[in-house]
């Protein structure tokens, strides 16, 4: 199903496509066999939208997010990051250009991907690294820079007292907040979140989702989720992904139970 749906919602004044995929296929080679993670996927996300990506495990959600933050290149098709098209017929961007784009896209990972044996302040400051030269980055490890910014970010997330703590010793939920603080300091235009609530209890997941939505004020948010209820509560639009294809892409209000059932019904035949 190829739906380029523009949700009929009140969007910020400048509704430019922040992220887009055009006819994207993604194939991974794993020891002999190759896996088709995404198959001819097209979508468009406008600036300021709050989009949930739902689907069963192995549907290609992580691959889709990796394409959009530039860590994976598509096998076929083209990708648009913040108005910059790449792949297929477009000319390739230079490394420096790609890095500039990437520094405007913040990613939150399920496993946080923090540097465990650095203290929290350094992990939060890692958000500056796209802008800092090498000497400043290294000096900051000795003498932390911009402590005020980091403290404010952490306080906003409710762990202001953990500034000096060793990151690896924090609880999972606290580490999640450190990862969010890093994104806050990075100050990106787009936030991608890869199953941010997969490893926390239901109450915490609501906290995290609220924080994410707070962070996404005046930004674009794309979050992949297992839990459809969370998607309905916090997002304007839901994209259902299954076996590498988009099953539906609709405003939250329009998504029906039947569609969700079909999404998670693995017995059903592929939707094409």
């Amino acid at each position: 199903m190829d739906s380029m749906h523009n949700p009929a919602l009140a969007l910020p004044a400048l509704a430019l496509p922040a992220l887009a995929l055009k006819e994207v296929s993604c194939r991974f080679k794993t020891s002999g066999s190759s896996v088709l993670a995404l198959q001819s996927v097209s979508l468009q996300i406008l600036a300021g939208e709050r989009v949930a990506l739902v689907g069963p495990s192995g549907a290609g959600k992580s691959t889709l997010l990796s394409l959009l933050n530039g860590s994976v290149s598509p096998t076929e098709g083209s990708v648009c990051m913040l108005g910059q098209w790449q792949g297929d017929t477009y000319k390739t961007v230079s490394n420096a250009q790609r890095r500039r784009l990437q520094s405007r896209i913040g990613t939150v990972y399920q496993q946080h991907h923090l540097i465990g044996n650095l203290s929290v302040i350094h992990n939060v400051n890692a958000g500056h690294l796209g802008r800092w030269p090498l000497w400043k980055a290294l000096w900051s490890l000795v003498w932390p820079q911009q402590v005020g910014v980091a403290r404010q970010a952490l306080t906003q997330l409710g762990i202001g007292d953990k500034l000096q703590a060793r990151t690896g010793r924090l609880s999972g939920g606290q580490q999640q907040r450190v990862a969010l603080a890093r994104v806050l300091v990075q100050d990106p235009d787009v936030i991608l979140a890869d199953e941010p609530v997969a490893s926390v209890d239901p109450a915490r997941s609501h906290d995290i989702m609220k924080i994410l939505c707070d962070l996404a004020q005046n930004r674009t948010l794309l979050v992949s989720l297992h839990d459809v209820e969370l998607a309905k509560t916090y997002c304007d639009r839901i994209i259902g992904l299954r076996e590498g294809c988009i099953l539906f892409d609709l405003p939250t209000a329009v998504v029906s139970e039947a569609q969700l059932t079909q999404l998670y019904d693995l017995e059903a035949s592929a939707p094409y």
């Binding site: 933050n69 530039g70 860590s71 790609r98 890095r99 500039r100 784009l101 990437q102 520094s103 405007r104 896209i105 913040g106 990613t107 990972y109 496993q111 991907h113 923090l114 540097i115 465990g116 044996n117 650095l118 350094h122 890692a126 958000g127 690294l129 796209g130 800092w132 030269p133 090498l134 980055a137 290294l138 490890l141 990075q186 990106p188």
Partner: protein, 572 residues
């Protein structure tokens, strides 16, 4: 599944078969049962040697000489380690795959990576003693020879291990930074390096222990320090003085090993092989955390640990400049060496070196391998046996193998622990060439005495490493066996060996590679093999011949590394 297990079975049996045939060939080469090996005329000397153990020379001025020598050996180890860490840090980054992967992605970067790695293999393959002798002939007699002889090969070894550590550190945080637009070099030093740092530091302390042993060996070729004093006493047949030297070495090595072991443990250390395999690092961390929480539940203890670590770091900061000052290194010699190297270069040109390769090198190469195989087999068996009483968590009261009612302050377990540890310490602290010379009192020269000397030295090292493996064992399964009424030997064969045997074998095979390099140090005293030829060529300034021998030796090292790597994979 069935086919899979069948495949594994075959592979590890072919490894065993290969080893047994290597062993049989080596034993045959020693001439055991065909030629006389024991020299009965040396009985009286051996008797004197052992009797002197109980009354070492304690004369005032001699003790002064020994104290001075001890400080010198220590200073060599400190300076050598410092320089080798510098080399290792730069080389480690350049040899790591991850650095090239982020800094210069693509086939060009990978090609450069392979080139750097290959180049580092050569200084590594040559033993520090050969480096010492080479540098001695180029730089002349100065302390700088001893320091560089440690720094060059150990720097290359450190670089290899550091590169492995960097490559095995999880790369997700690095990737996360790079994907958010951070420049690769910044991301590497900010996001990757700090993660690898604890392991890098732990390994540095282990390297320091090795440097200390190397410093003693280098003394034997005249670098000064304890090794030199011991050789002088031995040549003068003054056994009382000899034992004083042995005790001084044991004290020095014992203190350093204990300090380093405690520091490594408190910094969340893992064993040498864990660094290499990277598998159970997390487990080890969990273990050290657990140990920390059971032993040091109180904050007071944690504070004590912190003071110990900080104090140690402070002591290092003070010791390094002092040691450099003590040795009075003549750095200008390094500058002057270029002239000498210019004179040397024509002698090692291809047309001079190629004719030196001859079939006569082949039997010497075979002897060298045989010596290493014999030595490591004996050392491995001894090490496994000693690793149980030498581990803290086995026979001591409350340990997994102690009988239930035992709870006195002193028990057989304690006696066993202390005596096995002292024996292991003596075995690894006394330089192998000295051991070989002592063994030659009672045996005719040949590869067997050389192998024995190497076996004793490596037994001391392996026994300690294996005891550490035993101490890191997860105890829960053993307690389970114990609670169902299993005997001590039952626990060893059902609980401990199945868990640890693969690790033990990996250590033994790794040490086999090291042992091959060490054959040159017993070759020095006439034990045979390529090492003996090399020392002869060095003393007759036959650099063309030496270059040929060294090439054969390096190739042999590469071959043994390959076989050892294959066998390690087979027994995993």
């Amino acid at each position: 599944m069935k086919e899979f297990s069948r495949f594994r079975w075959q592979r590890h049996h072919s490894a065993l078969l290969l080893w047994l045939s290597l062993l049989a060939g080596s034993v045959w080469l020693t001439g055991l049962g065909r030629v006389p090996l024991i020299n009965w005329n040396g009985r009286s000397l051996i008797g004197q040697f052992w009797l002197a153990m109980f009354h070492p020379s304690l004369a005032g001025d001699f003790l002064g000489v020994m104290a001075e020598a001890t400080v010198t050996t220590f200073a060599f180890a400190v300076c050598g380690t410092t320089l080798s860490l510098g080399v290792g840090l730069v080389g480690g980054v350049l040899c790591s795959r991850v650095w090239w992967h982020v800094w210069w992605p693509g086939p060009v970067g990978m090609g450069l990576w392979r080139g750097v790695r290959g180049a580092m293999a050569i200084p590594r393959a040559i033993h520090e003693l050969i480096w010492g002798l080479l540098l001695l002939s180029v730089l002349g007699l100065d302390s700088i020879v001893g320091v560089l002889a440690i720094a060059i090969p150990f720097g290359a070894i450190t670089a290899k291990v550091f590169a492995e550590i960097l490559d095995e550190t999880p790369t997700e945080p690095l990737a996360a930074l790079i994907n958010s637009g951070v420049r690769p070099s910044v991301a590497f030093f900010y996001g990757h390096f700090p993660q690898a740092l604890p392991n890098l530091i732990s390994y540095s302390f282990y390297r320091f222990e090795c440097s200390l042993r190397a410093a003693a060996v280098l003394g034997v070729i005249g670098a000064g320090g304890l090794g030199q004093q011991i050789l002088i006493s031995l040549n003068a047949l003054r056994y009382e003085e000899l034992w004083t030297g042995f005790y001084a070495l044991m004290l020095l090595n014992g203190c350093v090993d204990m300090w380093s072991a405690r520091l490594r443990r408190e910094m969340g250390f893992v064993g040498r092989m864990e660094l290499a395999s990277g598998k159970s690092r997390e487990k080890s961390r969990a273990l050290s955390r657990r140990r920390g929480s059971t032993l040091g539940a109180t904050g007071q203890r944690a504070a004590g640990e912190k003071i110990f670590v900080m104090g140690s770091l402070g002591a290092i900061a003070i010791a390094v400049p002092l040691c450099f000052a003590h040795l009075q290194l003549d750095w200008s010699r390094v500058g002057r060496a270029s002239i000498l190297i210019g004179e040397l270069a024509p002698k090692v040109s291809p047309e001079r070196v190629l004719p030196e390769f001859s079939v006569s090198l082949l039997p010497l190469a075979v002897q060298t391998v045989a010596m290493a195989v014999l030595a490591i087999t004996l050392a491995g068996i001894g090490g496994v046996v000693f690793s149980f009483p030498a581990a803290q968590n086995f026979f001591l009261p409350g340990g997994v193998l102690s009988s239930v009612g035992e709870d006195g302050r002193w028990s057989f377990g304690h006696v066993g622990l202390v005596s096995t540890r002292v024996i292991l310490l003596a075995a690894r602290a006394i330089p192998a060439p000295i051991l070989a010379l002592v063994i030659l009192y009672g045996m005719f020269p040949g590869i067997l005495p050389g192998a024995l000397a190497l076996a004793i030295h490596n037994f001391g090292i392996l026994g300690r490493l294996m005891a550490e493996v035993n101490e890191n064992l997860l105890e829960a399964p053993l307690r389970g066996l114990r609670s169902l009424g299993a005997t001590g030997s039952g626990i060893i064969f059902y609980g401990i060996l199945p868990t640890n045997l693969a690790r033990f074998l990996a250590y033994i095979l790794y040490r086999w590679e090291v042992c091959l390099r060490e054959t040159v140090i017993v070759g020095l005293v006439g034990a045979g093999g390529l090492g003996r030829l090399m020392t002869e060529q060095l003393s007759s300034f036959d650099y063309s011949g030496l270059a040929a021998t060294l090439t054969v030796f390096v190739l042999l090292t590469v071959a043994v590394d390959f076989v050892s790597g294959w066998m390690r994979a087979a027994v995993q």
